[in-house]
C-alpha cells in the first residue's frame, strides 16, 4: 500500500487514526501499542501477505537472540556474530543472491543457487533496524520495552517501507506516553498533517512531473541515442531533483504520519543540494542511513581514530557497501565508489586547506557548485540501466555527443560554431512540466526545508542536525497555514495517479 494511493488516503489512514483515538481513550498504553502493531502488520500484509511470516520470524529471531544474550544464556559476541550473520544471510539471499550468482557465472562459469522471486518489501530496512538493536543490546546499551514494543518499533507502518531508519532508542521510549492527552494529540495532528501534505505534494506534483525529463534522456540513451550536451545535463539534473523530491517527500510523509500518532521520527533530508562539500552532502542526504553506516560500520572499522590511509580505506568500504545496499547491481556499487572517492578527496582537501578558505562567500559559492556537479555526475550510473548507458550520458555531459540547440535558439549557432540545430525533446514535455522543473531546482538549492519552517511545531527528533538559522517565515497554527495545508493536500490528491511507486521502494 503506497501512501499516495486512494486505499491508504481514503481508507487505511482515516480508519487507523479513528481507531487509534478510540483505543487511546478507552484503553491503556499497552493496548495502543498492540493496536498499532496490528495496524502496521495489516499495512504490510496488504502489499503481499506472503512476506508477513518472514518479518515475524525475523523479529522473533532477533528479539530472542538479544534476550538470550541479556540473560547470559549465550555470550553477547556469539549473539552478535550469529545474529548479524543470519540477518545478512537472509538479506543476501533475497536481495543479492541473483546478482552474486550472475557475477560468479560470468567469471567462472559456475552456476550457484539464487533467489529469483520478488524482493520482500522493506527487507533492507527492517534488517538494518534489527542489526542495530541486536548489536546495541548485546554490547550492553540499555534496552527498553517489551516484545510488543520491539515488534512495533520494527513494523511501525510510517517508517517500515522506506525509512527513516529510526534507532530503537529513539522510538521505543516514546511508546510509554503515546498521545496521552487530547490536547497533545491535536498539536501532533496539526503538525503531522502539515508535514504529510508537504511530502505528498513533493511526491505527486513535483517528483512525478519531473520524471519524464529524466526518462526521456536515460531511456533514450539505453536505446542507443547519444544525448547532446544540454540534454544530458537537463536529464541528469531532472533525475537528481526527481529522486530528491520523491525520497524526501516519502520521508516527510513518514514523519508526518508518525507525528499524527504523536511519535517523532528522525529527520532524513536537510536540503542536500545546498551542501557546500561532499562531507556536508552526506550529512544532509538520507541522514539516517549515513548515521547507521557511521555507527555500525565506519566506527567499528576504526573510523577516524586510525591513520589516514586506513581511514580513507574505511570510507571507501563504507561507501561501496552503502552503494550495494541500494541495489544488487554494479551501477550502485559504482555510485557508492564514486562518492567514496569524492569523500576521500574532500577529507584530503580539508587537511591540506585547513579551513583557510571556508568563510569566503566566493569560495562557498564555488564549493556549492563543485559539490552539485559532483553529485549530478554520480547520479548518472545510479539511474542508468547499465554502465554503458552511463558512459554515453557522461560523454554527452562533456560535449562528446555534440551540442544541439532547438529551432528557436538557432541564432546561437552564429556564436557557437560547434552547435547544430536539432529538436530538443524535453522542450516538448509541456510548459507546466518545464516550470515545475525550474521551480523544483530553486526550491532544492535556495529555499529552506519544511523542518526549518516548522521548528515551532517540534516535528522531528533532535538528532543534532544543523538546520540553519531560524527562517523568517515560521509555521504556526493559523488559518492561513491551515488553508495552505489543505490546498497542498487537495492539489496532490486530485492529481495523484495509480502506479507511481516511490523510487526507494526498489532498494
Amino acid at each position: 500500500m503506497l501512501f499516495p494511493s486512494n486505499e491508504f488516503l481514503l481508507f487505511f489512514l482515516p480508519v487507523a487514526l479513528i481507531l487509534f483515538l478510540f483505543v487511546r481513550h478507552f484503553a491503556g498504553t499497552a493496548a495502543v501499542v498492540l493496536y498499532l502493531l496490528i495496524a502496521s502488520l495489516v499495512f504490510y500484509a496488504y502489499t503481499n501477505p506472503l512476506y508477513v511470516p518472514l518479518i515475524l520470524a525475523s523479529m522473533t529471531f532477533n528479539y530472542a537472540m538479544a534476550q538470550m544474550a541479556v540473560a547470559r544464556m549465550i555470550t553477547p559476541w556469539f549473539a552478535i556474530a550469529f545474529g548479524v550473520s543470519v540477518n545478512l544471510a537472509v538479506l543476501g539471499w533475497f536481495k543479492y543472491s541473483a546478482f552474486i550468482a550472475g557475477a560468479v557465472h560470468a567469471a567462472f562459469g559456475v552456476t550457484l543457487p539464487a533467489y529469483g522471486g520478488e524482493l520482500p518489501l522493506a527487507v533492507s530496512f527492517f534488517t538494518f533496524l534489527q542489526i542495530a538493536y541486536l548489536v546495541d543490546v548485546c554490547t550492553g546499551r540499555k534496552q527498553t520495552g517489551g516484545i510488543f514494543d520491539y515488534f512495533l518499533f520494527v513494523t511501525f507502518f510510517p517508517h517500515l517501507i522506506a525509512g527513516p531508519l529510526v534507532h530503537h532508542g529513539e522510538l521505543i521510549p516514546q511508546f510509554k506516553d503515546i498521545g496521552r492527552s487530547w490536547r497533545r494529540w491535536q498539536t501532533c495532528f496539526a503538525v503531522g498533517l502539515t508535514i504529510f501534505a508537504v511530502g505528498l505534494f513533493k511526491k505527486i506534483v513535483i517528483a512525478d512531473n519531473i520524471a519524464p525529463f529524466a526518462d526521456l534522456v536515460f531511456d533514450g540513451a539505453k536505446a542507443g541515442q547519444a544525448p547532446a550536451l544540454i540534454q544530458s545535463w537537463v536529464g541528469t539534473l531532472a533525475y537528481a531533483l526527481q529522486i530528491y523530491f520523491d525520497f524526501s517527500g516519502y520521508s516527510d510523509m513518514a514523519i508526518g504520519l508518525s507525528k499524527m500518532f504523536c511519535l517523532k521520527l528522525p529527520i532524513n533530508f536537510n536540503s542536500p543540494y545546498q551542501a557546500t562539500s561532499i562531507i556536508d552532502f552526506w550529512k544532509r542526504w538520507h541522514i539516517t542511513l549515513s548515521r547507521f553506516l557511521r555507527d555500525y560500520l565506519y566506527i567499528p572499522l576504526g573510523g577516524g581514530r586510525v591513520g589516514s590511509g586506513r581511514r580513507y580505506a574505511n570510507v571507501m568500504i563504507v561507501m561501496l557497501l552503502g552503494g550495494l545496499w541500494h541495489g544488487a547491481g554494479w551501477q550502485f556499487i559504482f555510485w557508492g565508489g564514486l562518492h567514496g572517492i569524492y569523500l576521500v578527496i574532500n577529507h584530503v582537501w580539508r587537511s591540506v586547506s585547513a579551513g583557510r578558505l571556508d568563510n569566503s562567500l566566493l569560495w562557498n559559492g564555488c564549493a556549492w557548485f563543485i559539490t552539485l556537479i559532483a553529485v549530478l555526475v554520480a547520479w548518472v550510473p545510479f539511474r542508468a540501466a547499465d554502465l554503458s548507458t552511463a558512459v554515453l550520458i557522461w560523454k554527452g555531459m562533456i560535449g562528446l555527443n555534440g551540442i544541439t540547440v532547438g529551432d528557436k535558439l538557432a541564432f546561437l549557432t552564429a556564436y557557437l560554431p560547434f552547435a547544430r540545430v536539432a529538436p530538443m525533446g524535453f522542450l516538448n514535455l509541456g510548459t507546466t512540466n518545464l516550470a515545475i522543473l525550474a521551480i523544483a531546482f530553486v526550491i532544492a538549492v535556495a529555499c529552506p526545508n519544511i523542518y526549518r519552517i516548522m521548528r515551532r511545531g517540534d516535528p522531528v527528533l533532535d538528532t543534532h542536525v544543523e538546520l540553519g538559522p531560524p527562517f523568517r517565515l515560521q509555521w504556526s497554527p493559523t488559518l492561513t497555514f491551515a488553508a495552505a495545508t489543505c490546498a497542498l493536500l487537495f492539489c496532490a490528491f486530485a492529481t495523484s495517479q495509480e502506479g507511481s511507486p516511490f523510487l526507494y521502494f526498489q532498494f
Binding site: L10, A190, D219, G224, A422, P423, L479, C486, F493, A494
Partner: protein, 407 residues
C-alpha cells in the same frame, strides 16, 4: 491561546477533509452505478464472459487493450492507430484481438513487440498504417524506438474524482451526472455497459475483442451528409491550409519513417509474426479534393516508395473501386466497419495467409446488408445494439445527399 489555535487549526483541516470525503463519496456512487470500478483484468474477464462494451476512463487504454489481448490469447491481431479500431472478431475465423488505438507511427508496433508480445506473440499482425505518419517531421525519429507504453492515461486526475473531471471537460452533462448518482432514473442498457459515459447514453465503447462500437459517434453523424461530416477538413484542403497535422500539405515523405517500418516488420518477422500492413482507407471525396488542391504530392511519393521498398504495406487508401462510398466513413480520416471489410477482402486476394484467417462469407454478407453504413450488425454485441444502430437511420440522410450530389 496556543491550545485554542491548534484546536481551530485541527477543526478547519478536519472540516476540509470531511468535505473532500463527501465529494469523493458522491463520485464513488457515480462510478459504482456507472460500472467504472473495475480494473483492466476484471474488465477483460467480464467482457469476454458476459459480453457488453466498456468505455472506462479510469483504466488506461493501453492497459485495457493488453488485458484483453492476454485474456484472449489471439492468433490474429489488428494494430495501429484509431484507423484500426473497427475490425472485429466476426471478420475472422480464428481468435482475434483488436489492439488499435495507439500512436500513428511504427513506435506503437515496437511497443507491442516489447511489451505486449513479450510473453506470447500472435501468428498474424494486421497493421493499419496512416498516410500522414510519413509527413516530413522535424522531430527525431529513432530507427529502433524504445518500446514504452506512452499513452498512459487519457485523463490526468485521481480516479476517485473522475466524474467531476468528465463534467468539467464536457464529456458528461449535469443531467447524466444526476442520473448516475440516482437523482433521476437511469435507462436500462441493452447490454452490459462498463464506464460512466457509456452507461448514461450508451455512447459506445470497446467490445470483448477490443474493437470499437462507436454508437455515440454514429449518433452524432447520423443526420449528416458526408460533406457535412468532413466539412472542417474539406475547407482546409480547399484553402490549402494545414489546419491539423494529419491534413498537412507536403510534397515529400519522411524516409526515416519508412526505415522505421522496415525495422519493425523485420523485428516482428524474427518473432515469428506474419505482418500484413495496409494504408488505411480515405473517403473518396477527401482524396479527390486533396488531389485537386495539388498540395499533397507526398501521397504519390508515398505510394511509389511503398511499392519499391515495403511491399508488405498494401495501398488501400483509395477503395472507391471496391464499392465504398463516403457514407462508410464517419469523418475525414476514419473508415467504418464496412469500408474496412472491403479493404480486408481486397488485401486477402493478395495475401494467402490473410485469406485463410478471414471469414470472407460473413464479411461479404455484412457488406451487402450494410452498404453505405458506418457499421453493421455482425456479431452478438452489435446484435444487442441493433435497435440503436437501425434506430438512428444513420444511412438514410447520407445516402440521400450522396445520390443528390451524384445527380
Amino acid at each position: 491561546m496556543i491550545a485554542q489555535s491548534y484546536r481551530r487549526y485541527v477543526a478547519v483541516t478536519l472540516a476540509a477533509i470531511a468535505i473532500l470525503f463527501a465529494v469523493v463519496g458522491v463520485a464513488w456512487i457515480a462510478r459504482w452505478r456507472g460500472n467504472d470500478l473495475n480494473n483492466a483484468q476484471e474488465l477483460a474477464r467480464a467482457l469476454n464472459t458476459q459480453g457488453g462494451v466498456a468505455s472506462t476512463l479510469a483504466v488506461p487504454y493501453n492497459t485495457f487493450k493488453k488485458a484483453l489481448y492476454d485474456y484472449r490469447q489471439p492468433d490474429v491481431v489488428v494494430a495501429g492507430s484509431s484507423r484500426g479500431l473497427m475490425f472485429r472478431q466476426s471478420a475472422f475465423r480464428t481468435s482475434f484481438s483488436n489492439l488499435g488505438g495507439g500512436i500513428a507511427s511504427a513506435d506503437y508496433g515496437f511497443t507491442l513487440l516489447d511489451r505486449v508480445f513479450a510473453g506470447r506473440a500472435p501468428k498474424v499482425l494486421i497493421y493499419a498504417v496512416d498516410h500522414f505518419t510519413f509527413l516530413p517531421s522535424a522531430m527525431p525519429v529513432d530507427e529502433r524506438p524504445v518500446g514504452e507504453v506512452r499513452a498512459v492515461q487519457r485523463v490526468r486526475v485521481n480516479a476517485a474524482l473522475l466524474p467531476y473531471r468528465l463534467l468539467i471537460d464536457g464529456y458528461m452533462t449535469p443531467q447524466q451526472f444526476a442520473k448516475l448518482i440516482g437523482l433521476s432514473p437511469m435507462e436500462r442498457a441493452p447490454l452490459p455497459v462498463y464506464g460512466m459515459t457509456a452507461s448514461t447514453d450508451f455512447a459506445g465503447g470497446d467490445g470483448a475483442d477490443g474493437s470499437t462500437y462507436g454508437i455515440g459517434t454514429m449518433k452524432a453523424v447520423s443526420q449528416q451528409s458526408a460533406e457535412a461530416r468532413f466539412a472542417g477538413d474539406l475547407a482546409c484542403v480547399r484553402r490549402g491550409e494545414a489546419c491539423r497535422e494529419v491534413m498537412r500539405p507536403a510534397t515529400q515523405i519522411d524516409r526515416r519513417r519508412l526505415m522505421q517500418f522496415k525495422n519493425l516488420f523485420s523485428a516482428l518477422r524474427e518473432r515469428g509474426v506474419h505482418v500484413i500492413a495496409f494504408l488505411a482507407p480515405m473517403p473518396p471525396l477527401m482524396l479527390r479534393e486533396m488531389k485537386a488542391s495539388g498540395g499533397y504530392g507526398y501521397l504519390d511519393a508515398l505510394r511509389a516508395a511503398i511499392r519499391a521498398e515495403l511491399p508488405q504495406i498494401h495501398d488501400m487508401m483509395d477503395i472507391e473501386a471496391l464499392g465504398t462510398s463516403d457514407c462508410e466513413f464517419y469523418d475525414a480520416i476514419h473508415a467504418g466497419e464496412i469500408a474496412n471489410l472491403r479493404a480486408m477482402l481486397a488485401v486477402a486476394q493478395k495475401e494467402p495467409v490473410l485469406a485463410q484467417q478471414l471469414d470472407a462469407a460473413n464479411a461479404r454478407a455484412t457488406i451487402a446488408r450494410y452498404e453505405d453504413a458506418i457499421m453493421g450488425v455482425s456479431d452478438k454485441t452489435s446484435e444487442a445494439l441493433a435497435s440503436l444502430i437501425d434506430g438512428y437511420r444513420f444511412r438514410d440522410v447520407c445516402r440521400t445527399a450522396l445520390s443528390r450530389s451524384a445527380r
